[in-house]
Symmetry: C2
Subunit: 478 residues, 2 copies
Amino acid sequence: MLHTSTSTYRYQAVEKQITDMIESGALGLGDKLPSLRRMRRDLGLSISTVHQAYVELERKGVIESRPRSGFFVRRRATRLPRTEPHPSAMTAPRPVTRLGLIQTVLESVGREDAVPLAVIEPGADLLPLTELSKITAAMVRDNPRRALGYSPIPGNADLIRQIAFRSMEYGVPVAPDDPVITVGCMEALYLCLRATCHRGDTVLIQSPTYYCFLQLLETLGLRAVEIPSNPEGGVSPGDLDRALRTYDISACALSPNFNNPDASLTPDEAKQEIVAMLAARDIPLVEDDVSTDLHYTQKRPGTYKQFDQKGLVLLCSSFSKTIAPGYRVGWTLPGRFRQKVLEIKATTNVSTSTPAQMAIAEYLRQGRMERHLKRLRAALEQQMDTMQLHLEQCFPPTTRVTHPCGGVVLWLELDPQVDSVELFFRAGEQGIAIAPGAIFSTGDKFSNYIRLSCGEPMTERIRRGLADLGAMASEMAG
Amino acid sequence: MLHTSTSTYRYQAVEKQITDMIESGALGLGDKLPSLRRMRRDLGLSISTVHQAYVELERKGVIESRPRSGFFVRRRATRLPRTEPHPSAMTAPRPVTRLGLIQTVLESVGREDAVPLAVIEPGADLLPLTELSKITAAMVRDNPRRALGYSPIPGNADLIRQIAFRSMEYGVPVAPDDPVITVGCMEALYLCLRATCHRGDTVLIQSPTYYCFLQLLETLGLRAVEIPSNPEGGVSPGDLDRALRTYDISACALSPNFNNPDASLTPDEAKQEIVAMLAARDIPLVEDDVSTDLHYTQKRPGTYKQFDQKGLVLLCSSFSKTIAPGYRVGWTLPGRFRQKVLEIKATTNVSTSTPAQMAIAEYLRQGRMERHLKRLRAALEQQMDTMQLHLEQCFPPTTRVTHPCGGVVLWLELDPQVDSVELFFRAGEQGIAIAPGAIFSTGDKFSNYIRLSCGEPMTERIRRGLADLGAMASEMAG
C-alpha cells in the first residue's frame, strides 16, 4: 500500500516499498527488481517517479544498475534490531549534577563546522524559509507601531487565538485565551516547573529524558526520581504508581510522544491512567509536547492534557521544531497555574518578542501550517529511513537502534564495553557531533548509548561521519 | 545660552529660554515679550522658529497674544518645588511582599484606553518606527536562513560587537565578546540576580526603587535591605557602608542614573567609592543602566561598571526605552559571572529571538542610534518641561516634584494626608493610569507619592487627566 503525503514525495513511498520487500525477504540478494514499466503499470505512477526511487536506492547502495539488464538487489536493506527496554529500576530522589557534562556537549552541538548528528531541529532546508520570512517582513513593514510595541504579558492576542484553535482541533480542551506565549518551549518548561515546585522538591521524570529537563532541575535546585521510559511502550502507569507510593513527588515532567532521546510514545490509555492517578493526588504534570507534531503516523497521537479535567496538566510546546527555531516562540497551556506562570513570566522577561509572534500568528492564520507539516513529516520519515539503512552498514551488528514513528532522533545501544562519553570526545576530535547517553539521565545507566539526529538530509559528509563513528564504536567494543 | 540638539527642536530651546526668564523673574506677569524680529536678531534664528516657540507657549497658557500688540506673559511659568530627601532610615532585611499590589497596578498600566501617565517608555511617535521596521523587513527577507535559525546562547555575534563598541565609547571597559544578549533588561536583571544570589539571601536596594526589582526579589525568594535614594544625590556611600557593616548582604541592585521613580543620579565619585567598598568585600553589584541613554545633560553620566576592576559589576540594559520595547532585546555585561549567567540563560529560554537581534545589530551598524537618541532626548526633555508647567497649574501648591535631568518619569510628593493607593484606584475609575508610591518600596514610606510618566507628548486628554488628578489630590488632602 502506498501512503503518500504529497506528490513531491511519491518516489519515497516507492523506495520504502522496495526496501520493505527486501527486508521481508520478498526480494533476495541479487534478485532483479521489477522493470520501470511494470512498476508504472502496477502502481499507477509515472516512470520518472519510479526511476527517481531506484536512483535513490542505488545512491544508498541498496540496489545496483547493470547496463542493459535493469536493477538488482545489492544487499539486504536491513535495519539494526530494535533497542530493548532498559532493565533499569526506579531511582530514589537525588540531586541532579549533570550540568558540567551537558555544557560540554552543548558547546560541541553548537559547532557549525561539525557533522550535524547532534542538533535536533529539522535542517534549514526543511523550514518554510521563504514563506515565513516574507510574512515577517510584510507584517513588520505594514504594522511598525504594533511591531515595535510591547505585547501583553500572556502574548500577542492573534497568536494566542491561533494556538487555542489548533489545540482544540487535536482534542485538547482549552479556552480561547488560555495559552501563554513563551520564549520557546524551554521557557514554557521553566515557567511551569517554577510555578509548580520549590527548591528542594522532587520531580518525577522518565529515563532517559531530554537533558534540558535535567539542566533545568539542576539550576532550579530540584531533585529527580526516574522511572523507566521504554522505546516501545513509553512510561508505564504501574511504575508511576509505585513511585507515587514510595516518594513525596511535587510534580511530574513527562514527554507524551517521541520522547527525546528514545522516541518512546506512551499509549493514550496509559496517558489517561497516569493523568487520573495524578489527579487523585493533586500532583501537577508538566508535559513536553514539542515533538508530537512530527508524527509519521496517520493520526496525531494524544496528549496528557486532553485527559486533564482538573487543570493539573501544563502542556508545553513551541514552533522551534517545525517552522522557526530562532524566532523563540513557544507556549504553555498552564491550566490552574496560569496566574503563577504569568507572575513569573513578568519578572523573567515581561513578554515575548513582538515581531516573531506577529509573523507566526499570520503564518497560522493563512492556513500554511498543516501543508508545511505534511511535507516536513514526509521528509523527516524519509531521512530517518535512510539513516537506519546506513547505520546497518556502518555499525557492528550487535548495535541496537530505535525504530521511531515520529520525531528527529535515533537512540543507539552500543556494545556494553563502549563508553559513549569517550566516544563523544573521540568523535568530536574527528569533527563529528553526537550526544552521549550519559546526559539523558541522572545516573550512569546509558553509558553505552548515543543519540543521533536525522534532522539533516543524508550527504556524503554525513555518510563518512557515520562510517567513522561506526568504526570507532567497533574498535572500542574491543 | 541656547543648547540645541537638532534644528527640529530649536524652537524648544527658545521656549525654554522664555520660560526660564519668566521663572527667574526677568519677565513678570503682564510683561511684553521681545518682538519676533528682535528675537531673530538676538538669537540668529529664523522668525518662524521664534514664532513656533511663542505659539507653543501660548498653547500652554504661559503667554497670550494681543491683536496688533504682540505677546504678553499671562502667568508665572513656575514649577512645583523640588521633592526633598525622604527622612527614611535604612530598613532591616525583610521578605518582599508587594506582588499583589504590583500586579494590580500593572494591569491598570496595560489598559490601552487609559490616560497614559503610568507607562515608562517613550511614546510610539518617538520611536524610529519606519527606519527600524524597514531594516527588520530587509534583514529577514534577505537572510531567511539566518533569521529563522537559532542564535548562539550569548546572542547574535554582530549585535554583541555593536554593544561592546558602544559600551567602550562611553568608558566601560569591556572585551568585544563580553556582552550577553537577553530578552529585555528584565531578563538581564533576572539572570544576574540568579547568578549572584540564592533563595533566602539578602539584596541591598535603594528606596524608592523600580518595582520590577521588588517583584523579582519576591519571586526569587530574596530578602531586601533598603537604603535611601535621594532625588538630588542618589545613593550615599555612607549609607551603603553602614548597611554593609550591619547586615549580611549577598548582592546590591542599584540604578546609577535617573532611578525609576525618583530620577536620582548618584554622582560619579560616589559610584566609584561604592564600587571600591563592594570590591573590598567581594560583593557583586547588579546595575540597572536602562535609563542612562535618556540623559538631558551634555555628557552621558557614568556607570558603576566603569569603575569595576574585579568583574563584580553586572551591568544590565536594553533597547526598550530607546528604540523598540516590543523587540525584547537587552543585554548584560556580567563580568566574572558570565559562565553562570549563560548556564541560567540556557535553561530559561536558550537564546534571544534572532530577527529582533539581527535588526537592531544592523540599525546600530548603520550608525543610526546616536542621531535618534539626540532627537529622542530633546523631545523627552521638552515633554517633561511641559508636564512640569501643567503640574504647577493642576496640583495644590504644597505638592513637590522632582526636576530630573534625564529619563521619562516624575516623582510627586503629595500632601501627607493623601493615600496614593486610594488615589490610584480613584484615578483608575476616571480612566487615568498612574503608579502609586507604595509599589516602589517594601514598606509604606511613600504612601503619599505618585509617579507620572512624560513618555507621551502633551494632549488635551492628558491635560484634562492631570486637572482631574490634581483635583482628586486636593480633595483627598482635606
